[in-house]
């Protein structure tokens, strides 16, 4: 999206669609889908290198770190200690202080452990990280994350990978009104209209992975998401009409026979 950048902690992001890199068939598909999405931020996980088979390709052979902002996450961490370890490893493996912080509370729902999240965020902010926390759609928790120094908050729309869409638009709207930092709706989007809806509500960006990677045609869905986020953003800025129970005629009565 031209001339509508998103700024977080002094960093300028040109796209308002951020994408994950998991669950694709192969790296070639990952690359094509990300190109089609127009995203400039891609999230990655930090894992052991396969030392027994060095012939395997590396994700970064396909995603130029000069072209994309690589955002490491702490996916798979179920306690503060692990999240801190992975965040520090992510910083050591990469080039920036950006971290998508996840502290998960339950394997079935992958809902965040918000108490652990706030604790981990506080520590990482003190260590100089730019902490982007994956959190619940709870305005009070969102405010606490801002209070400990998070420059943006990433509330979920629905459980990770569920594709259920925007389950609680009212909470998200309250977060957007209450919280004075950028809000990135993260997780739960199923299709393009969900992404547009999130942006119409006033989200500053949307982050997704499964909705694109799990689609029958991930590259086409990536393109659909690009336009959905763009359309939703334009509609938000344009300002929608109020909802009314009864009709309001569009054509004047004056001049009728």
């Amino acid at each position: 999206m031209q001339n509508d950048p998103l700024t977080i902690a002094g960093r300028v992001f040109t796209s308002r669609l951020w994408v994950g890199t998991g669950k694709y068939k192969d790296f070639a598909e990952t690359k094509k889908a990300i190109e089609a999405s127009g995203a400039d931020v891609v999230t990655v996980a930090v894992r052991r290198v396969n030392i027994t088979d060095r012939s395997k390709e590396n994700l970064l052979d396909y995603l130029d770190p000069k072209k994309y902002i690589i955002l490491p996450n702490t996916a798979g961490c179920y306690n503060v200690e692990d999240a801190l370890r992975y965040a520090r490893l992510g910083r050591a493996a990469g080039v920036s202080d950006l971290i998508k912080l996840e502290v998960l509370g339950d394997e079935r729902t992958l809902f965040p452990d918000t108490a652990g999240l706030i604790e981990a965020a506080k520590i990482l902010v003190k260590e100089g990280f730019i902490v982007l926390p994956y959190t619940n759609d709870d305005p009070i928790v969102a405010q606490k994350l801002v209070d400990v120094g998070c420059p943006a908050v990433m509330p979920l729309a629905a459980p990770i990978g569920s594709g259920l869409g925007i389950r609680n638009p009212y909470n998200l709207k309250i977060i957007m009104e209450m919280i004075k930092v950028p809000i990135i709706v993260d997780a739960g989007v199923g299709t393009a209209s969900d992404a547009a809806f999130a942006m119409e509500l006033g989200a500053d960006a949307v982050l997704m992975n499964t909705a694109i990677a799990g689609a029958k045609d991930p590259i086409a869905m990536a393109e659909a998401m690009k336009y959905a986020v763009y359309a939703g953003r334009l509609a938000y800025k344009a300002g929608r009409i109020p909802r009314k129970l009864y009709a309001t005629a569009s054509s004047p009565i004056e001049g009728m026979l």
């Binding site: 994950g20 998991g22 669950k23 996980a45 894992r47 052991r48 290198v49 396969n50 493996a93 990770i160």
Partner: protein
């Protein structure tokens, strides 16, 4: 013949030369240093230290890098604790 010590690399035992450094180990494994994080006995090393830090018998080395992952790693049960990169 140079003396050999045993260390653990990403959980697996491995023999290295007694005077080897972390940098030597990475070269032996053909791993590009600019894309990895290395933990030596739970201490995360700065890239600049790789050639200075020598390995000792029983050291535990973890070598990690970025893999595909986003919001979710749930569908295939991946992403819980340390797992091998795919």
């Amino acid at each position: 013949m140079a003396e050999v010590i045993q260390i653990h690399v990403n959980g697996d035992p491995r023999d290295v030369r007694a005077d080897a450094t972390v940098g030597d180990l990475l070269r032996e494994l053909a791993i590009k240093t600019e894309r990895v994080a290395v933990e030596l006995n739970l201490e995360i090393l700065d890239r600049k230290e790789f050639d200075q830090r020598s390995l000792k018998q029983g050291d535990r080395v973890e070598i990690l890098s970025f893999i595909g992952g986003g919001a979710p790693l749930d569908m295939y049960g991946r992403g819980r604790g340390f797992v091998y990169a795919e």
